[in-house]
C-alpha cells in the first residue's frame, strides 16, 4: 500500500472515529457507520462498462447499450448486496489474548448474525496483524474471527482501527466499518534470564483462593457459592439438577512459596529484571508452586494458578508504563 494511501486511510478513519465516537460492545452495524467504496476491480469494471457505453452509442447499437446497462445494473445490485452483507451484523464481543514480547498476541471478535440471510466472506483485519481473518456466518449464527498480532515490546499493544469489511459478492465494492473500542493486547516481558528461582520460604496451606483448578490439583469437595468466586468453578451440572449454587474446591499440592522480588536482582537493568521475573513466574507456574511478586510500589501475595500468573505477568508488562 502506498504511503499516500495509508495516510489517506488514517485520516478517513480518524474522521469516522470522531463522527461515530467510541464504541462499547456489543456493537450493531447500522447504516450510519457502514462505509462503501468501489474496489480497484470495481473501478476497472466501471471503466470497461463506460467503454461499452461509448461503443454502443457510437454504433447506435441498442443491444450493446442494453448490455452496458445490464453490467452497470449488476454492479449496482452488487453494491447493495455488499452493503447488506454487513448491515445489522453485531460485533458481540472482542477479546484479546496476551502474549510474551516476541510472540503473537491474539484478537478474537465474536460476530453475531441474527438475520435470516447468510453473511459470507466477512473479513476482520487490524494494522499489524499477520493476516486478515475471514469468517462465513450462516443465518442466525455466531462466528469468531481470530487474528494474530505479533508483539514486539512489552506493554500495551493498542489495536486501533479494527476493520470489519466485505467485498462479497462480486468483489466490485468494499463495505466496511471501523471498530473504535479501546482494545489492547497486553504484552508480557519476554521470559529471559539465567538466575535460579529464589528458594521457597515457609509452608502454608491455603486452598480457598485456588485459581484455575489445574490438573495436578486434588479434588476436595463442594462448598456454597460466595461472592467473587469464578463462574468456572461453579458446579453447573449440580445446579441444573436442582442443587443450590455450589463451587468445586481443590486442594493445593504445592508445599512452599517463593518471593520474586524486583529489588533483589542486583546487576541488572530494569528491563532485564522484568524479563528475569517473567522467567521465574513462568517456571514457578509450570512447577505448580506458590509465589509472590514484589515490584516497586506494588506487591502480590503468594498464590498460584493461571489467574495469579496473568495478574503478575500483566503487572510486569505495564510496570513503569502505566500507573497501577
Amino acid at each position: 500500500m502506498s504511503r499516500f494511501r495509508s495516510d489517506l486511510e488514517r485520516r478517513i478513519a480518524a474522521w469516522a472515529a470522531a463522527r461515530q465516537g467510541a464504541d462499547e460492545l456489543p456493537v450493531r452495524l447500522r447504516r450510519r457507520r457502514l462505509y462503501i467504496l468501489p474496489t480497484r476491480a470495481g473501478l476497472g469494471f466501471a471503466a470497461a462498462v463506460l467503454g461499452m457505453l461509448l461503443a454502443a452509442l457510437n454504433y447506435g447499437n441498442g443491444t450493446a447499450l442494453a448490455l452496458a446497462g445490464i453490467l452497470a445494473g449488476i454492479a449496482l445490485v452488487a453494491m447493495h448486496q455488499c452493503h447488506r452483507n454487513l448491515l445489522e451484523l453485531e460485533i458481540a464481543s472482542a477479546e484479546t489474548t496476551p502474549a510474551f514480547a516476541g510472540g503473537r498476541g491474539g484478537l478474537t471478535l465474536a460476530l453475531l448474525n441474527e438475520a435470516r440471510i447468510a453473511r459470507l466472506r466477512v473479513q476482520v483485519d487490524v494494522a499489524g496483524a499477520t493476516r486478515p481473518a475471514v469468517v462465513d456466518l450462516a443465518p442466525n449464527t455466531l462466528a469468531r474471527a481470530e487474528l494474530e498480532v505479533p508483539a514486539k515490546r512489552r506493554g500495551r499493544l493498542l489495536l486501533e482501527r479494527v476493520r470489519i469489511s466485505t467485498t462479497y459478492p462480486f468483489g466490485l465494492f468494499r463495505a466496511w466499518t471501523w471498530l473504535n473500542a479501546s482494545l489492547a493486547i497486553v504484552v508480557f516481558p519476554q521470559p529471559r534470564g539465567a538466575r535460579p528461582l529464589p528458594a521457597p520460604q515457609g509452608i502454608r496451606h491455603d486452598s480457598r483462593r485456588a485459581g484455575g483448578g489445574g490438573e495436578q490439583d486434588e479434588w476436595r469437595g463442594l462448598r456454597p457459592f460466595r461472592d467473587g468466586d469464578s463462574p468456572r468453578q461453579v458446579a453447573w451440572k449440580a445446579y441444573a439438577r436442582g442443587a443450590p449454587l455450589l463451587v468445586k474446591e481443590y486442594a493445593s499440592s504445592g508445599t512452599g512459596q517463593r518471593l520474586l522480588d524486583f529489588g533483589r536482582l542486583p546487576g541488572l537493568d530494569a528491563e532485564a529484571r522484568l524479563e528475569q521475573l517473567a522467567r521465574w513466574i513462568v517456571d514457578a507456574d509450570a512447577l505448580g508452586e506458590r509465589y509472590g511478586l514484589v515490584l516497586p510500589g506494588r506487591e502480590f501475595g503468594a498464590d498460584r494458578g493461571t489467574e495469579h500468573r496473568r495478574r503478575a505477568l500483566t503487572a510486569l508488562a505495564l510496570h513503569g508504563l502505566e500507573a497501577p
Binding site: 461499452m52 441498442g62 450493446a64 435470516r116 467485498t167 441444573a240
Partner: protein
C-alpha cells in the same frame, strides 16, 4: 510447501476459461477458425498446468506466441482496426493471457476480454435469435466474476451461478431503462468500419448466373407495411440498381453513379404508401416499389435519374423509410442523345446471330413497340425453359442462350433480351431488384427475401418513355404471381420443401419472422427520434435531450430506490439462537425484578449495575451472567452445546428473590427438566 497447500482450487480459472471460450464461440464463423482452436488449446493448457502441474510456457515463449498470433491476424485482415480484425486480435490476446493467469487480476483481464467479445458480437449482429445467447454469456461472465472474487467461499460454483442469475434479473430493468432513455447520438463519434464479409444482396453488376446464387438464400431482404391495400401480385416489382453498361457477358453500373435532377414522373394509376425496413447489407441500394415518386426525407438517400435510391454509405445497419410509389407512371422527360447512345452500346463483333435476329425482327415489325412484341413472341414460342440450373454459357453468350441452350433464369433472359433490343436500335437497360414477397398475416407485412431477387428490362419507347418489359414473364408467366419455389420446386432445399408441405411449420416460420420484424423495427431501429417520440407519448410537452436526461435520471433513481429497498435491511431470523433466547429470557426476568438492561451494557456490566441497585439479586444472578459471557465470548474450544443446554436449564430455574420493589411481580414460569 506441501503439494496440497500449493494447489489452489482450479474453480476460478475454470470459470474464467469458460467465460472466455463462450465469448470466442459467439464469433464462430466470423473469426478464422484457427483463433478459436488457439483459444481452446490455450485454455486446456492453462487448466492442465493448473490441475496437473504441467509446465506452462515461459515468458519468452508467451511473447513469441503473442507476436505470432498478431502477425497471423495482420496477414489475414491486413489491419488490426475494425470489428473483425479487432475481434480476432482480442481472441488471440485473451488466449495468450490465459496462459499466465497467476493472480486474480490476470483472470479479471481475461473476463474483461470475454465481455468485450460479447460487445463485439452485439455490435456485429443483433438478431432476435442471438439475444438469449448474449444474455447467457453475460450471465456466465458475471458468475465467473463472482467465483473469482471469492474463490474460498463455502458455497461453490453453483451458488455463484445462482447469485449471478439473480443479479442479472435484478439488473434487467436498468438495462431496459438505459435502452429506452439513454440519449442516443444523432451521428457517430468515430467512423464506423464497414464489415469485411460480403453480405448477401444485389450487387451493382449482373452476370447471367449471379441471381441464381441469391435464390439459395432465404434471408429476408426487407419488409414492407402497406398503408391500405397491397398492389396486385403482378405489380410487386421492387426496383434496385439499374445497369446499362454491357461487355458481352456482364451488365454493370459504372461508378461514379450518375446523379442529377430526378426525372419527372407522371403518375398514371393509383399510389401506394408504405413503410419499408431494409435488412443490413454491404451495399448502398435502398429498394422501393417500382416506381418511387421522391426520395424519403428520414434517411440519407438520394434518388438517381433512373429512379433508384442510393445511400452515400453502405447500409450496414437496418434502416426504415416511408415512401410513395406508382406502379403505373410515365417517365416523360425526353431521352438525351448522350443517354440514348449509352443505352444502345453493344460490344463490337460479338453475338452475330443475335444481331441478325434483331435486324430481321426489326425489319418485319417496323416500329419500336412492335419490335418489342415480336421479340417477346420469339421468347414465348422459341421453346425456352425456365430453370435454375442452366448449362454453362461460353463464347458469345447471348447467341448461345438464344439459339443453343435455350435454358436460363431471369438473369439470362433479361440480359439476352436487353442485348436483342439494343441490337434492334431500341435503348434498353437492365433493372435488378426483387419480385413478389410473402404476406405475413401475423405481422401484416410483406416479407421480401433474397430468394425473390429478379432482373428485368426497361426499353425506351418514344411517347411512353422507359417501359418495363419482363422477358421471364414471357417464358414462365406463373413466376409473376407465384413464389419462385412454387414455380421451380426443384430449387427448394429440403427444409424449404418441408415448410411448403407442412403447414403448421410454415405458420411457425411466419410467426418467427413477424417477431423478427417487430424486433428490427422497434428495438434495433430505436434511435434518438424514437426516444423523443416515446417522450411525447409519455406526455412530455417539449421532448428534447434535456427532457430525456431528466427522465433517465428519474428512472435510474427509482430503480436504485427499489433495489436499495429490496437489498435493504436484512430480515431478522425467525428464531434467535438458543443462547440468545435464554439470555433474553434471563434479561426479561431481571427486568421484571426491577433491573432493566441498558442497551450499551454487556452481561458483565449488567451484573455490576444490578449489584449496585440490588446486591441480593446481583449476588444470585452474577454466576449466570458470567457463564453467559463465557459461553458467548470465551475461547472457541469448549464443549459448548452441552453448556448452552445447561445454561438454558439454569435460566429456566432461576427466580428473582423476593425483594421490596415496586414491580414486585414474580413471573410465571414453566418448569423444565
Amino acid at each position: 510447501m506441501s503439494a496440497r497447500a500449493a494447489a489452489p482450487t482450479p474453480r476460478p480459472l475454470a470459470w474464467t476459461a469458460a467465460a472466455f471460450l463462450g465469448g470466442v464461440l459467439l464469433h464462430l464463423g466470423r473469426v478464422p477458425l484457427w483463433t478459436v482452436v488457439a483459444a481452446f488449446v490455450c485454455a486446456a493448457w492453462s487448466l492442465a498446468g493448473h490441475v496437473r502441474r504441467l509446465p506452462l510456457p515461459g515468458k519468452t515463449l508467451r511473447i513469441a506466441i503473442a507476436l505470432a498470433l498478431i502477425a497471423a491476424v495482420l496477414v489475414i485482415f491486413r489491419t488490426l482496426n475494425g470489428l473483425e480484425a479487432g475481434t480476432a486480435l482480442l481472441t488471440a490476446m485473451g488466449s495468450v493471457k490465459l496462459l499466465e493467469t497467476h493472480t486474480r487480476r490476470d483472470r479479471y483481464v481475461v473476463i474483461a476480454a470475454a465481455l468485450y467479445l460479447l460487445l463485439a458480437a452485439a455490435l456485429d449482429a443483433q438478431d432476435l435469435l442471438f439475444l438469449p445467447i448474449y444474455a447467457a454469456h453475460a450471465w456466465l461472465c458475471a458468475a465467473a466474476l463472482a467465483v473469482n472474487a471469492h474463490p474460498q467461499s463455502p458455497l461453490g460454483g453453483r451458488a455463484a451461478a445462482r447469485l449471478a442469475a439473480r443479479s442479472f434479473l435484478a439488473a434487467l430493468p436498468l438495462a431496459v431503462l438505459v435502452f429506452l432513455f439513454f440519449p442516443r447520438l444523432a451521428g457517430s463519434l468515430w467512423a464506423l468500419p464497414a464489415p469485411g464479409r460480403a453480405a448477401t444482396g444485389l450487387s451493382d453488376t449482373l452476370t447471367p448466373g449471379a441471381i441464381s446464387e441469391l435464390i439459395e438464400s432465404p434471408e429476408p431482404a426487407f419488409r414492407v407495411w402497406f398503408d391500405g391495400a397491397l398492389p396486385p401480385a403482378a405489380e410487386r416489382y421492387w426496383r434496385g440498381p439499374v445497369l446499362d453498361e454491357f461487355d458481352g457477358a456482364t451488365w454493370s453500373r459504372p461508378p461514379p453513379w450518375r446523379l442529377g435532377p430526378p426525372r419527372s414522373l407522371a403518375p398514371l394509376g393509383r399510389a401506394y404508401r408504405y413503410r419499408l425496413t431494409l435488412e443490413p447489407s454491404a451495399h448502398r441500394w435502398a429498394f422501393a416499389l417500382d416506381t418511387i415518386a421522391s426520395a424519403p426525407q428520414t434517411i440519407r438517400v438520394r434518388l438517381t435519374p433512373d429512379h433508384v435510391l442510393v445511400s452515400a454509405r453502405p447500409l450496414i445497419e437496418p434502416v426504415t423509410y416511408e415512401a410513395v410509389s406508382y406502379p403505373h407512371a410515365r417517365d416523360a422527360d425526353p431521352l438525351t442523345a448522350r443517354m440514348r447512345a449509352r443505352d444502345l452500346i453493344l460490344p463490337r463483333g460479338r453475338n452475330p446471330r443475335t444481331l441478325a435476329l434483331a435486324h430481321r425482327l426489326r425489319t418485319e415489325a417496323g416500329g419500336d413497340a412492335a419490335f418489342v412484341e415480336a421479340a417477346l413472341g420469339f421468347l414465348r414460342r422459341g421453346g425456352f425453359r425456365y430453370t435454375l440450373t442452366p448449362p454453362r454459357l461460353a463464347g458469345d453468350q447471348v447467341d448461345e442462350l438464344l439459339f443453343e441452350t435455350r435454358q436460363g433464369f431471369c438473369g439470362h433472359f433479361a440480359s439476352a433480351f436487353a442485348a436483342l433490343m439494343r441490337a434492334g436500335g431500341v435503348p434498353a437497360r437492365i433493372v435488378t431488384g426483387y419480385l413478389g414477397g410473402e404476406w405475413n398475416p401475423i405481422g401484416r407485412y410483406l416479407l421480401v427475401r433474397q430468394s425473390d431477387a429478379h432482373a428485368w428490362v426497361e426499353v425506351w419507347l418514344e411517347g411512353r418513355g422507359w417501359t418495363r418489359v419482363d422477358p421471364t414473364a414471357a417464358i414462365a408467366p406463373e413466376r409473376l404471381t407465384h413464389d419462385l419455389l412454387e414455380v421451380l420446386p426443384s430449387a427448394a432445399s429440403a427444409t424449404e420443401r418441408l415448410l411448403l408441405e407442412v403447414h403448421w411449420l410454415a405458420s411457425i416460420q411466419l410467426a418467427w419472422d413477424a417477431a423478427n420484424a417487430w424486433w428490427t423495427s422497434t428495438v434495433i431501429d430505436f434511435d434518438l427520434s424514437s426516444q423523443l417520440a416515446l417522450l411525447g407519448r409519455l406526455g412530455l410537452r417539449a421532448p428534447g435531450l434535456t427532457a430525456l436526461a431528466a427522465v433517465l435520471a428519474l428512472a435510474l433513481c427509482a430503480w436504485l430506490a427499489v433495489s436499495a429497498w429490496h437489498y435493504g435491511k436484512p430480515p431478522p431470523a425467525r428464531r434467535p439462537d438458543r443462547l440468545a433466547l435464554a439470555y433474553r429470557r434471563l434479561c426479561g426476568k431481571l427486568a421484571r425484578a426491577g433491573s432493566v438492561r441498558e442497551s450499551h451494557e454487556g452481561p458483565l456490566a449488567y451484573a455490576d449495575s444490578i449489584a449496585r441497585r440490588n446486591p441480593e439479586i446481583g449476588r444470585r444472578v452474577r454466576p449466570l451472567l458470567e457463564e453467559y459471557a463465557a459461553l458467548r465470548f470465551g475461547p472457541a474450544a469448549r464443549a459448548e452445546a452441552l453448556r448452552v443446554a445447561e445454561f438454558q436449564r439454569a435460566v429456566a430455574r432461576w427466580r428473582a428473590p423476593a425483594v421490596r420493589s415496586r414491580s414486585d411481580r414474580v413471573p410465571r414460569e414453566r418448569r423444565k427438566a
